[in-house]
C-alpha cells in the first residue's frame, strides 16, 4: 500500500482488507485543520473488481456501499461508473465535480493532540505554470506467469537474514524495476514482504508534473507498484503520473531525457509481470491546454487523449495478447481511455 502527499493533493492506495474510505473523513479534517481547505477540488475513488469480495469490511463489502459512503460526503457532486465487462475484469470509478464542500457525518474536529502550532513565517512561493496536463496511467495485471511470480517469494532463510527494504532493492534491480525511468532522476523505495509480495514507490524528479517547468525541465511525478504473487490470485499493479510522450502512427514523439514513451513503459511493465489478463486506464485532464516543456503537455488535451486512444490499439502488446475492450469516457475535466487485454491461449 502507498500514501502520496503533495501540497494540494493526497493519494491513498491500499490493498488487502484495509478500510481505505474510512480515512477520508480524517483526511478532510486534517486538510481543514492544518491548511484551511474547506472545499475538495476533486475526489476520485477507483478499484478493480475484488478476487474475494466477501472478505472485505465496512463500506468495502460492496460497490453500492462504497458509493453510498461517498455520496454521504459529496452529495450530488459525485457520480459512479462501472467500466468494462461486469462478469470479468471490470473497473469501478467514483468521481466528483470540481470544488465541492464535503460533509462529514459527525462534528468535525481533530483531537487536540494532532493539532500543531502553525509556523510563524511563510516560505517564498516558487513560480510555477498555472496550466499543465494531469495524466495518470494505471496498469492492473492478474494471473501472472509462474516465472514472473517466482522472484517475489522468499525463503525463511532470506527473510530472517535480509531486511525487507534490502529484499525490495534486490528484486527491483533483478527485474529492472529500477530502470523503468532514468536512474539519475529516480528515488526508489521498495520492500519485499515475508513470505511473499512486494511494494515500491518512486519519486521522479521533483515529484510533481508541473513542478520543474520553471527550470526548463520536463515535470516529474511518481510511480508505485504492488505485487501479490500467490498462485490463483496473483496480481500486480503499476501506477504513474510522470508526463510521457505518446506515440501515434503518424508522428514521432520528442525524446524526454531518456524517459520511455507511454507505450514503451506499458510494454516494459507488462514484460516484467507477465500477466494473462490486464486492464490499462489513462486519465488525461482536459481543463488545461498544453504549456511548458514536457512532451505530453506540448500537446493539447484532446490531442493527447486522441493519441492515447490510438496507442491502446490491438498491437500495443504485440502478438501474444488480444485486446478485448477499448472504452473512452469524457468526464467533466477529464478524459479516460480504458483497455483490457488477454494473453492468447
Amino acid at each position: 500500500s502507498s500514501l502520496f502527499v503533495a501540497p494540494h493533493l493526497l493519494i491513498l492506495k491500499t490493498c488487502g482488507t484495509t478500510l481505505n474510505l474510512l480515512g477520508l473523513y480524517r483526511i478532510i479534517e486534517i486538510a481543514r485543520a492544518y491548511c484551511g481547505y474547506t472545499n475538495v477540488w476533486r475526489c476520485f475513488y477507483s478499484r478493480k473488481s475484488f478476487f474475494f469480495p466477501e472478505r472485505q469490511h465496512g463500506p468495502h463489502r460492496d460497490w453500492r456501499d462504497e458509493v453510498d459512503f461517498l455520496d454521504k460526503v459529496f452529495g450530488t457532486a459525485g457520480a459512479a461508473y462501472t467500466v468494462g465487462p461486469m462478469n470479468r475484469d471490470h473497473w469501478l470509478l467514483y468521481l466528483t465535480s470540481p470544488n465541492t464542500q464535503p460533509r462529514l457525518p459527525y462534528d468535525s474536529k481533530l483531537p487536540s493532540s494532532l493539532i500543531a502550532a502553525p509556523p510563524s513565517s511563510s516560505p517564498p512561493a516558487a513560480i510555477l505554470p498555472t496550466k499543465y496536463q494531469d495524466t495518470t496511467l494505471e496498469i492492473l495485471m492478474s494471473y501472472m506467469d509462474p516465472k514472473a511470480r517466482a522472484p517475489f517469494f522468499h525463503t525463511e532463510e532470506q527473510t530472517s537474514s535480509t531486511p525487507g527494504h534490502e529484499l525490495g532493492q534486490i528484486i527491483s534491480s533483478k527485474l529492472g524495476i529500477d530502470e523503468l525511468f532514468p536512474k539519475d532522476e529516480t528515488t526508489l523505495d521498495s520492500f519485499g514482504f515475508d513470505p511473499c509480495g512486494y511494494s515500491a514507490n518512486a519519486v521522479i524528479g521533483t515529484g510533481m508534473p508541473e513542478a520543474s517547468h520553471v527550470e526548463g525541465k520536463p515535470g516529474g511525478g511518481y510511480f508505485t507498484i504492488h505485487v501479490t504473487p500467490e498462485e490463483g490470485w496473483s496480481y500486480a499493479s503499476f501506477e504513474c503520473n510522470v508526463p510521457l510522450p505518446i506515440t501515434s502512427s503518424s508522428t514521432k514523439p520528442p525524446a524526454v531525457e531518456g524517459r520511455p514513451t507511454l507505450q514503451k513503459l506499458i510494454r516494459n511493465v507488462v514484460g516484467i509481470f507477465q500477466p494473462c489478463r490486464l486492464s490499462i486506464t489513462l486519465f488525461v485532464s482536459t481543463t488545461a491546454s498544453g504549456s511548458g516543456d514536457s512532451a505530453s503537455s506540448v500537446l493539447g488535451a484532446s490531442e493527447t487523449e486522441a493519441r492515447a486512444w490510438q496507442s491502446f490499439g490491438t498491437d500495443l502488446l504485440g502478438g501474444d495478447f488480444v485486446r478485448k475492450d477499448r472504452i473512452g469516457y469524457e468526464f467533466d475535466g477529464y478524459d479516460l481511455v480504458f483497455a483490457c487485454f488477454e494473453k492468447k491461449g
Partner: protein
C-alpha cells in the same frame, strides 16, 4: 487461530485534490498552512524550509491507523512525500 486466507491484491485507490494544481492553492486563513498538506520546497531557499510547513508524519499515521496500515518508510521529493505502507 484462524488462517488469514488468501490476500486480496486489487487496491482501493483514493485521490483527494484540494486545488487543481500546485500553483492554484486556494486562499486560506493566515494561521493555517498556506503551503498546503506538504511543504513546497522553495528552490532559492534550499533546504531551509524543507519539513517546516507540512502536516506532521504522526498525524498521517493516526489517519492510517483508521485505514489499518502502518508506515514502513518515506521518500521525500521536492514536491511530494511518498509513504510505503504495510498491507
Amino acid at each position: 487461530v484462524t488462517s488469514p486466507g488468501p490476500f486480496e491484491g486489487p487496491e482501493k485507490l483514493l485521490e483527494v485534490w484540494f486545488a487543481p494544481s500546485l500553483n492554484q492553492l486556494p486562499d486560506v486563513p493566515e494561521s493555517s498552512l498556506s503551503g498546503g498538506l506538504r511543504a513546497r520546497a522553495a528552490r532559492e531557499e534550499g533546504e531551509k524550509w524543507k519539513g517546516l510547513r507540512r502536516v506532521p508524519r504522526e498525524v498521517w499515521e493516526e489517519m492510517l491507523d483508521i485505514v489499518k496500515c502502518k508506515v514502513l518508510s518515506v521518500v521525500e521529493g521536492e514536491e511530494l512525500d511518498a509513504y510505503l505502507l504495510s498491507e
